[in-house]
Symmetry: C3
Subunit: 360 residues, 3 copies
Amino acid sequence: MQIANLRTSMSRQEWLVVGTAAAATMLAGLLTILNANSVLIFILAGVSLSLLAALVGIATDQLGAHLGSGATGVMQSALGNLPEFFVGIFALRAGLIGVVQAALVGSILGNSLFVLGLAFFVGGLRHGTQRFASETPRMIATLTLLSISALVMPTLVSLLHTPAAGHEEGFSIACAIILLVVFIASIPVSLKGGPICLPTEQKEVTSSWPIWLATLVLVGAGIGAAFVSDWFVQALTPAITFLHISPTFTGLVIVALAGNAVENVVGIQFAARNQVDYAVSVILNSSLQVALGLAPILVLLSLFIGGAHLTLVLAPLLVAALGLAAVLSTVITYDGESTWLEGLALIGLYSIIAVSFWWG
Amino acid sequence: MQIANLRTSMSRQEWLVVGTAAAATMLAGLLTILNANSVLIFILAGVSLSLLAALVGIATDQLGAHLGSGATGVMQSALGNLPEFFVGIFALRAGLIGVVQAALVGSILGNSLFVLGLAFFVGGLRHGTQRFASETPRMIATLTLLSISALVMPTLVSLLHTPAAGHEEGFSIACAIILLVVFIASIPVSLKGGPICLPTEQKEVTSSWPIWLATLVLVGAGIGAAFVSDWFVQALTPAITFLHISPTFTGLVIVALAGNAVENVVGIQFAARNQVDYAVSVILNSSLQVALGLAPILVLLSLFIGGAHLTLVLAPLLVAALGLAAVLSTVITYDGESTWLEGLALIGLYSIIAVSFWWG
Amino acid sequence: MQIANLRTSMSRQEWLVVGTAAAATMLAGLLTILNANSVLIFILAGVSLSLLAALVGIATDQLGAHLGSGATGVMQSALGNLPEFFVGIFALRAGLIGVVQAALVGSILGNSLFVLGLAFFVGGLRHGTQRFASETPRMIATLTLLSISALVMPTLVSLLHTPAAGHEEGFSIACAIILLVVFIASIPVSLKGGPICLPTEQKEVTSSWPIWLATLVLVGAGIGAAFVSDWFVQALTPAITFLHISPTFTGLVIVALAGNAVENVVGIQFAARNQVDYAVSVILNSSLQVALGLAPILVLLSLFIGGAHLTLVLAPLLVAALGLAAVLSTVITYDGESTWLEGLALIGLYSIIAVSFWWG
């Protein structure tokens, strides 16, 4: 009976995501056990990660439908970057600090430049100049700019040879704690439907899952993401050595995309449907979550999980790129207007930054 | 008869400021003569400076009530940073260039990040999302951004090893003169009630002082500030050596706060009373006065007063922090909206910057 | 009969430009043949270039009157920087890379800081605080900010000692191609009267030239500009050696002004007539054309014309100045308001930047 119930409560599209995610996860696991070609495992695990990320998102929304919009916001904040979180943990245990730092920056660049650009480009081609209510996006952009300013201070301290240059780890921890305080403080704001709570009425929850199913899928996808992240990180070093890709480029572009791919499609679909308000909010909020939540959490956790300690002292060019992305996405959001040409210029800038990290 | 007159024309609050300022000043003077513990003198002189700064502010407003709003604006511009000016002069004569530079930057950071953040935080907790007419704040923020851009050029020239790198003093003087020309040009604008004239009708001048009293208090507070500044600077080096605080941190946080403490409380009170327009204008205007007036005046005066010559070649991290503060306060002002979360993030960023200068 | 026709179809002002341009061009040519004093030739060729630039502008507008507003926009984009383009080509063939790079940056700084400042100053003194519809200026400013962000990446890559630091030429070419793609994509937008098409109805075409005359003047002015550019570049090195001016200052200030002088006067005239919308659009659009079109075209052409290869690796201070100009002109445009004080501050900042390049 429960199976019949399941069939009616899940839409065909949702079944498709569940099915392919499960298949990709099992196949990636099988190949890892069989010691198959690492490039193949790397690609398959990457695809699997994207699908599991999408599944976590769907299950969070469904669970949220039972708990109210505030709770949904909190869960989205907490679980939205779950796959990236697992990849970060396993990569840190493997000592791949550079990859983790590049992936964090790449996630912000990918959202604030590439995905935002794609959304403007697609939306603009279909609907001409698009106007959007800029209050929520402005608030998110401002908070992101503030978070990124805090995030780059350790690198500036280190780069500019200040007397604090010998204390990067302590200073990174101090920055991480302060950022987390702001992150935690922002959660009740989301609960009350405050300024950084995304508009929820525009979401189309096409079918309603029972609470046990949503929980089950969420837990299943989470456990799956943990396993797949492990295999993904194991395959990463041999795969990129074979393919001659630099670790920074891998983190900045490939890892960042794998963790956000399906979510990004959703943001772009909203723009294509002329719901630019929602698209811009969703896309910029992803950047904010990484800067304000994921990055400081990984810094603090790296002290306890063994492996390398993550600091916020990044490669200078990563910091420069972060600064550009933060300023540009703020300026573009304050505008309250978007055109496909702006979108194309954003995509162009993202390409130039990505190319600049190609040489390793 | 004049004493009786005095009692009615001064409010209880004003009497309190006059009394405690006089007491603190005399005590600080006594301890200096007695060669008391320098930490004690340093703290007492700092408190005394804050109170004298407040007194100069009150007396300026009272004198202004007799002279019209334009003249008040000019006097506020000229006298608002009087205590900081005296501290700067004495510190330069004592050769403490690093402290003076840090105090100038700290004054801007303190206003544009910490005090603005506190105002948003307190105002937002009481009144929810606050909206403010952003024309005057925008104009002030834009001029501040322009002034800070000019202010950082000498450091950029020096840091980037340009051919002009051997001419820092001459170039600093050129920058100072150009900034002062803009500063002087801005004074008639204030006189006519122009764009950077602060709204005066919202000020509650609770009691009206006769003109002789306002002048007397102003002159008295000014002379007091000159003496206290001398004692403050004399005690500074032994005090921070004893307390193991770096000179840059001292200038950036302690000296900057001592010169602005009471004024800041006023700005925050306005936000708490939901007069955000006025609060934002007052707070940002303090930053503008430092960048456009105080800094270039000290550069030029340092050529004549003996002691070290002040240049605008700052520590690179100070310039980076200035840039962040300028961009962020502009973005936040253009928004026209404030929330307590934004305020908290501003306070967080200020804390991170202050911590980064802790190690000396 | 055609001469008589000519006399009626050209206004007195237009005759004046044609006459003085022709006279200055011939005189410059004569002096070059006679091997006259290089300083004299340099000045005369510079004046001649400004006049020919103005002539190209007038002829483009006249030809555009026959072809519709979209075509005018495209031709303005393509031909607006013709004299600067020729100077760039000849200077590259003479190996003067530093001069060309400085002239490109100087053209942007000159427009976005100096000319915009003059327009605000003159307009503000005459008409008080000026408000302008900020949609088109914002769009231009945003695209300029994006273009400049892309333009500075090669310098950042080189300066920050990244692994890509050995590949500056390849990376510059990649950036140039991406910028040109965006530039070409923006042309149909202008054709359709899209966001970066300048309002044309406000232009006063005082007399209507026949199509053959407009074409003739355009071709003549173009050929003249090519010759004069050659003489200008030949005289440049001996002239500045004699005058003890650094090559960077020459490029940044003198070459940049010679290519834009008359156009700038037009922009300022619009502000003086209280048509600020149009003034801001015209002035900022000049910067955008240089960043998005002229700079990448010169990078790509330099690979084929012999002489030095132009890269986008600029002197770090040029990049810092570009960044300041881009951020400031964006902030000031988003404001939607201008005052003479803002204008004065912009002129002050431009002066400070120009002075910083004086020492060579």
